[in-house]
């Protein structure tokens, strides 16, 4: 049976989540400070590369920088998404929400979007600032390497895919965890493995060509879709309310 999802209900969840984040000091601080730190570190790394840096050193420096930047879409949503379900349980708000006509897919999609949208904006803004700094102040040979089409395409493609993985993993852990802190720590850990893919291009292990970036992006997309479906299956109203595995 095909279920029709309601855009109104999803919008309601997104709006509520965003409002709640803004007023949650921990979430707001994490979303503000973490990206700035992960943007400053790569800029410092890039600026410390000499004009005559050898190709290997250049790859290593840029690889580290890219890794820092990909930490933003990986870690920022992990904090939020890991709180999404267990946070509602701890506040006692899950049961009232589940008594409404809201479908589990709508709830999960709303929560995922509420974590996804700010993450994308923050990640791209930070990447834009990084590129602007490199273009304006870095040595020409370093800038030329950073501005390769393959590298930029990889970053642009991987940012939403890493964020999606991190969000789905966070929500999955949040549906099963019994403690918010444990959920956040686990989510942070689980959000990291896909970064290995970006590191392959960042460190020059794989040539930073657009074709390779698209191929890796497609592979990550498949993994993200599977993760999304898995999360939807994990969300069991009965278990969440009664704590009893059905």
């Amino acid at each position: 049976m095909i279920k029709t999802l309601s855009a109104t209900r999803i919008r309601a969840v997104v709006a509520k989540e965003l409002r709640d984040y803004r007023r949650n000091r921990f979430v707001a601080t994490t979303m503000a400070i973490m990206p700035i730190l992960f943007m400053i570190a790569p800029i410092v790394t890039i600026f410390s590369l000499p004009a005559d840096a050898a190709s290997q050193k250049l790859d290593a420096g840029i690889g580290v920088s890219v890794l820092y930047l990909t930490l933003i879409p990986a870690l920022v949503p992990a904090v939020v998404s890991s709180y999404s379900v267990i946070g509602e349980r701890e506040q006692g708000t899950l049961e009232p929400v589940l008594t409404t006509p809201l479908r589990r897919e709508e709830l999960l999609l709303g929560k995922a979007l509420a974590a996804y949208l700010p993450t994308l904006v923050i990640s791209y803004v930070m990447y834009g600032i990084f590129l602007a700094c490199v273009g304006l102040f870095a040595h020409q040979n370093v800038a030329d390497d950073v501005f390769q089409a393959g590298r930029i395409l990889a970053q642009v493609l991987f940012t939403p895919l890493l964020a999606a993985w991190s969000i789905f993993a966070g929500i999955a852990i949040s549906t099963r965890a019994n403690d918010v802190r444990v959920a956040q720590q686990l989510s942070t850990l689980v959000s990291l493995p896909p970064m290995a893919v970006t590191a392959l291009i960042g460190f020059g292990v794989l040539a930073p060509t657009p074709r390779i970036a698209v191929a890796l992006g497609a592979a990550m997309l498949v993994i993200d879709i599977a993760a999304g479906r898995f999360v939807s299956r994990l969300f069991d109203r009965e278990r969440l309310l009664t704590g009893v595995k059905v």
Partner: protein
């Protein structure tokens, strides 16, 4: 409130059973609730009241049995449709404390896809007397006020059936009375209410009928019917000194089936068929015997007596 009721009863529950592994939360529960009725669901902690509400609210699936809620058969496929017609207020109101009262209600109005949200929110807040607290953050409200916000949230959609799970749990007497008054007002407006509680005075005051639950449904009926079923009608008369010949005075009274003397030695409890006939005759007989009559009162059993009788008999059965 919602006047567009489906035909037939608001709730029909037929041999509903829910097990969690080896543990049976509720077993073979059957009852019906009509539209406009306030039905009290009583029982001790762990009796299966909340499980029954959650099952009827499509939050958990029954192990066996069937039910119809607001005219729709209880099934996973009907989950969204049933939840659109009902409202459930769980024991804890479950508010987003960082959001204001109005923001909490607006969120739920969105989840119900209500179009006239402002009007609905204003009306719901007015019905619980919180129209002036709409912009207050929920974390700043007392427990009683939070409960009222929970009730306003449940009223947003004009539900066909309103489930209230222990609505006065943890409230002080004043706050509890405020919630009682609100429920009373809803009853007068014809809202169908399924009230889960273990406060017997609350049920006696608010409910048209009650069911007493202890894993199985032990009894069901109007509070006065249950009293009559379980207890014989009695009157108590108290004299200044013990009657010299009590059997001669009391045994032949019209409508008096038996009598007994209590431990204080001057209070006589008469089992009667009709207190209105027996009481004046008893007064005349006592005075005619030359005794001083100090008090003559019909004994009124409370719903609490009924409840304790049912639950105590369960405890005794378990001990055997």
């Amino acid at each position: 409130m919602n006047a567009q009721h489906a035909s037939g009863p608001a709730l029909v529950v037929d041999h509903l059973t829910k097990r969690f592994g080896e543990r049976t939360a509720c077993s073979e529960v059957s009852f019906t609730v009509d539209y406009g009725e306030v039905f009290g669901f009583l029982g001790p902690n762990g009796a299966g009241k909340t499980t029954t509400v959650r099952t009827l609210g499509t939050l958990i699936a029954p192990t066996s049995g069937t039910a119809s809620v607001a005219g729709l058969p209880l099934s996973e496929a009907n989950g969204v449709a049933i939840r659109s017609r009902i409202a459930v207020m769980p024991e804890a109101p479950g508010l987003y404390l960082r959001l204001s009262v109005a923001e909490n209600l607006a969120y739920f109005a969105g989840l119900y896809e209500l179009t006239d949200r402002r009007e609905r929110i204003a009306r719901a807040l007015k019905s619980v007397g919180l129209e002036h607290r709409a912009d207050d953050l929920c974390r700043s409200l007392s427990k009683g006020l939070r409960q009222r916000v929970g009730l306003a949230r449940a009223l947003l959609t004009d539900p066909q059936v309103l489930f209230l799970d222990e609505p006065t749990s943890g409230l002080d007497p004043v706050a509890a009375r405020e919630v009682h008054d609100l429920i009373d007002a809803l009853r007068k407006r014809g809202v169908t209410i399924f009230l889960t509680t273990h406060r017997l005075a609350e049920a006696e005051r608010l409910c048209d009928r009650v069911g007493i639950m202890n894993t199985t449904l032990r009894t069901i009926g109007r509070p006065d019917e249950l009293r009559d079923q379980l207890f014989s009608k009695t009157i108590e008369l108290r004299t200044r000194a013990p009657l010299a010949e009590p059997d001669q005075v009391l045994a032949g009274l019209p409508g008096c089936e038996s009598w007994r003397l209590t431990e204080d030695g001057t209070t006589y409890v008469l089992s009667v068929t009709d207190p209105d006939t027996a009481a004046p005759a008893a007064a005349r007989a006592v005075l005619a015997a030359g005794a001083d009559l100090l008090a003559l009162t019909p004994t009124r059993h409370s719903l609490e007596d009924v409840y304790l009788q049912m639950i105590d008999s369960d405890v005794e059965a378990e001990q055997r």
